[in-house]
């Protein structure tokens, strides 16, 4: 490697080779006609668009291979538009390639750096300006200006205060209260234990009070999944077992990872899977995470039955539902 490498000499730009159209007037004429044909095809596309837009009803369907049963109106205006644009492009490019000059031109670059005298002139001017303003000599002005400008940014931030309310304790609360009835979603019918077969599931919500309306914010916290197993299949501690009722166990449907609805229940394995990020929870072990990115089991809702045999919440959730947040008590 010690030997200095002598590079090969640059042979310079290769000689320009003329195109057919440059030397043969017939070829040039042919290229001209080709460009004209391409432009005319574009006009045809525009006509197709106009025809399809006005005269093909949007309930007409045609069968095409690969595409299946397709809407003719949509296809007609789309293809018309595509053709009208494409052929303008093809025509212009073909024109440029065959008939416009194709001799490469050599342009010289200049270094981007300014000339030394310009640079020193600039530095001088800038320095002089600063000198005249006296910023260096008057620190009091400099500091108070910096403080004022810094503070002036504050209103911009403060103005954003009313974008939303403060969270308060709202993330820890749901509409599940002691004794809240479980009702089907959708349908809002109360559920008895006998309504659910072993291996069955039900999507439930807390029963609405008279005049109450269920908002999306409610659903985002209240959605619950009921699952019925054989009681012998549970591997729960005494407390969690007492939260179940005749093999029916209830979990928050909102994933403890990022809040998707966890409702893929596999009856054979008793696993719950979240379709967003594939966290897998074992229902028999109080929704313990057995796979995937979630770090916490799904919160379990304690349930029991009321005097009429309808399923109710024994108590509110004992932990916040949904994804984690800074203030969450684990």
């Amino acid at each position: 490697m010690s030997k200095e490498l002598e590079p090969l000499a640059d042979p310079g730009l290769p000689e320009h080779v003329h195109r057919k159209a440059d030397i043969d007037p017939i070829a040039a004429k042919r290229a001209e006609r080709q460009v004209a044909v391409l432009f005319s095809l574009s006009a045809f596309g525009t006509l197709l668009f106009i025809y399809s837009f006005f005269f093909i009803k949007d309930d007409v369907f045609i069968f095409l291979p690969i595409m299946g049963n397709t809407n003719a109106h949509q296809l007609g205006i789309g293809m018309g538009m595509a053709l009208s644009l494409l052929f303008i492009g093809f025509g212009a490019v073909h024109w440029a390639k065959t008939l416009m000059p194709d001799q490469e031109i050599n342009e010289y670059r200049h270094e981007l750096k300014s000339e030394p005298e310009d640079r020193s002139e600039f530095v001088k001017t800038a320095k002089e300006g600063a000198e005249q303003a006296g910023l260096g000599r008057r620190p009091l002005i400099k500091r108070s200006l910096a403080a004022a400008v810094g503070l002036a940014g504050l209103p911009a931030v403060i103005l954003l205060r009313d974008l939303g309310p403060l969270p308060g304790n709202s993330l820890n609360e749901t509409n599940w209260k002691t004794g809240t009835k479980l009702v089907t979603d959708p349908g809002d019918r109360p559920i008895k234990a006998s309504d659910l077969e072993v291996g069955g599931v039900a999507q439930v919500m807390p029963a609405l009070l008279a005049g109450q309306k269920r908002t999306l914010e409610d659903i985002a916290k209240d959605a619950v999944l009921l699952i019925r197993l054989r009681p012998s299949e549970f591997q729960l501690d005494a407390e969690r077992l007492s939260w179940t009722h005749e093999g029916i166990i209830a979990f928050s449907k909102i994933c403890s990872h990022m809040g998707c609805a966890v409702a893929l229940y596999e009856q054979t394995t008793k696993h719950l899977l979240c379709p967003c990020h594939q966290s897998t929870f074992d229902v028999t072990r109080a929704a313990k995470v057995i796979f995937g990115p979630s770090a916490r089991p799904l919160p379990q809702l304690a349930i029991t039955v009321d005097a009429d045999g309808y399923l109710i919440a024994k108590q509110p959730f004992t932990e916040a539902v949904g994804p984690s947040f800074w203030e969450r008590k684990s």
């Binding site: 490697m1 490498l5 002598e6 590079p7 090969l8 000499a9 640059d10 042979p11 730009l13 290769p14 949509q74 296809l75 205006i77 789309g78 293809m79 538009m81 595509a82 644009l85 303008i88 492009g89 093809f90 024109w95 440029a96 390639k97 416009m100 000059p101 194709d102 490469e104 031109i105 050599n106 342009e107 010289y108 981007l112 954003l160 939303g164 309310p165 969270p167 993330l171 919500m205 914010e217 985002a220 959605a223 990022m258 998707c260 609805a261 409702a263 379709p275 967003c276 990020h277 995470v289 796979f291 995937g292 990115p293 770090a295 916490r296 949904g322 994804p323 984690s324 800074w326 969450r328």
Partner: protein, 530 residues
């Protein structure tokens, strides 16, 4: 002088008297641009942006960015009388009750996907050819900013129709915001105007999507293009092409026709896709409610890697002093992307710092001649591709008879093991390509023709390369290792310390090349050819 020329002359005179534009125009209409297909990739992105502006404006005429509850009364029967947000209802209205509305929606969405894909391939071209080097570092940073904004802008657009799929995406974005330590909960409450999903999110992201971000885009793209214009385009090396010149065709008329024509072609291809291929069929997804979900919920492709990273994250969460930190969200959702994008933005500076190369570069590198940079690029790509594959693991599982658990484990291990492997392999390949170039220059091209020598031996005829080809294959510089100076002659420790050591190691790695043929080596062989 014809009448038309007279009119043109009058107009030109009028404008020039008021702006003095003629001098500038005279020079710039003759501006030279080098011709290469890979220089068109950025143009695809630019034209897609214009298509997005046009089709997006059309959509705003009907789109109602409101989360007010309405009951659907439009013509799509399977959703009749379903309660939904006004945003979703108006997106359905555009799709089914505005002629050409569905086409424009599909063009808008396809253009967005093409826009992002074109940005990525343009970025790869710039990276692998070293076009980001001095003096183009600013433009590289602008490009990274455009890529980042593009991802955000795309995601906001995907969220606007308020269908089940987009709502799920917003839900996940909300969880990422909420996971930020200390301020996350507050940020999420400010962004969503309260608890998720609230009623203000769509109108807020709408104005960001249609005004704020497009405005920033326009400004950044303008500067990006002005810098390209001002600094003049890079060019591939070859005979007659040097660091001091740029060889190509004049802007007027050749590039005007080619680039203008290409705009129509990109628009045409996008319209063709919009005509024949369904994209984001929101009517099938249904309106968003937090209690519902569809199997295989994925984001658009440019977020796929992010989703893949989130899926493969370890289930880590810490609870200290009464506060929760969700590493399983922060790590893949914010920290790793943050490192990736910061690293990308700083790369030109890192490379020049390590190589000590402060010169201007206008001639592009052939990727094989810079094995370390090429290997680093392929390594990063491997990382992204594995993350992306994991983002679609459920669909891959069902279509290729695999299990999501297998794919997840493959990705978890692969994302650590495969990128370094890709680095080593790519570097080897680069070096063998260099060797092949050397062979080619010294011994010419194999022709496949055999001749029998008088004493019975068969030899294959090698055809000598032209002087132009030989030059093209040998014009590049091969860097030399910088010797590490621990202490100077007087025994004083090198003040650069770590930097000197890093530079020495890096330049030694960069110097690992197959020696290119020298003029004397070539001369020696000339004449001795068969």
């Amino acid at each position: 002088m014809t009448a038309r020329e007279r009119v043109a002359g009058t107009v030109a005179n009028y404008v020039d008297e008021r702006t003095g534009a003629a001098a500038w125009m005279k020079k710039n209409l003759q501006k030279v641009f080098p011709d290469h297909w890979s220089f068109m990739l950025g143009e695809i992105a630019l034209y897609s942006f214009v298509i997005l502006l046009l089709s997006g404006t059309f959509l705003t005429f009907w789109f109602d960015p409101s989360m007010r509850h309405v009951v659907y009364e439009g013509s799509y029967q399977p959703l009749k009388d379903v309660e939904m947000s006004a945003a979703y209802a108006s997106a359905l209205h555009i799709s089914f009750d505005v002629r050409g509305g569905l086409l424009m929606r599909q063009i808008h969405h396809w253009a967005a996907l093409i826009f992002m894909a074109a940005i990525v391939v343009h970025l790869l071209r710039v990276f692998f050819t070293g076009a980001f080097r001095k003096p183009r570092e600013f433009n590289w940073i602008l490009g990274i900013a455009l890529l980042t904004l593009g991802i955000v802008e795309g995601f906001l657009g995907y969220s606007l129709p308020d269908d089940l799929l987009s709502g799920t995406g917003v839900r996940i974005a909300h969880a990422i915001i909420q996971s930020i330590p200390v301020v996350g909960t507050y940020l999420s409450f400010f962004a969503f105007g309260g608890a998720f999903p609230g009623e203000v999110f769509i109108p807020r992201i709408y104005i960001v999507h249609v005004l704020l971000l497009p405005g920033i885009f326009l400004a950044l793209i303008t500067v990006h293009l002005m810098l390209v214009w001002y600094q003049k385009h890079t060019q591939y090396p070859g005979p007659g092409r040097t660091e001091k010149n740029v060889v190509g065709y004049p802007f007027m008329p050749v590039y005007m026709a080619k680039a203008g024509g290409f705009f129509f072609i990109v628009f045409g291809v996008t319209a063709f896709l919009g005509a024949v291929a369904s994209i984001n069929p929101i009517w099938l997804y249904g309106p968003y409610t937090p209690g519902q979900i569809s199997a295989g919920s994925q984001p658009d492709w440019y977020m796929g890697w992010l989703d893949g990273l989130v899926r493969m994250a370890p289930p880590l969460e810490t609870y200290i002093f009464g506060y929760t930190i969700s590493w399983n969200i922060l790590l893949p959702g914010l920290i790793i992307p943050g490192i990736i994008f910061t690293g990308m933005a700083l790369y030109p500076f890192i490379e020049s710092w390590l190589s000590g190369d402060k010169r201007e570069h206008h001639l592009l590198d052939r990727p094989r001649n810079v094995p370390n940079r090429t290997a680093l690029g392929v390594m990063s790509l491997t990382f992204m591709v594995i993350a992306m594959i994991n983002g679609g693991n459920d669909l891959i599982a069902t279509h290729f008879d695999l299990s999501i658990n297998q794919i997840m484990w493959f990705s978890r291990i692969g994302i650590i093991v495969l990128p370094p492997l890709a680095f080593v392999i790519t570097k080897r390949i680069c070096l063998s390509l260099q060797r092949a170039d050397r062979e080619l220059v010294l011994h010419g091209k194999e022709t496949g023709r055999l001749v029998m020598l008088p004493h019975g031996e068969f030899v294959e005829i090698h055809e000598e390369l032209s002087a132009e080809k030989k030059f093209a294959l040998t014009q590049h510089e091969q860097p030399k290792a910088i010797a590490l100076v621990k202490e100077d002659a007087g025994g004083v420790l090198n003040p650069k310390g770590i930097r000197a050591r890093l530079q020495a190691r890096f330049s030694a790695a960069n110097a690992e090349n197959i020696a290119k043929p020298t003029a004397s080596e070539v001369k020696e062989l000339e004449g001795g050819h068969h």
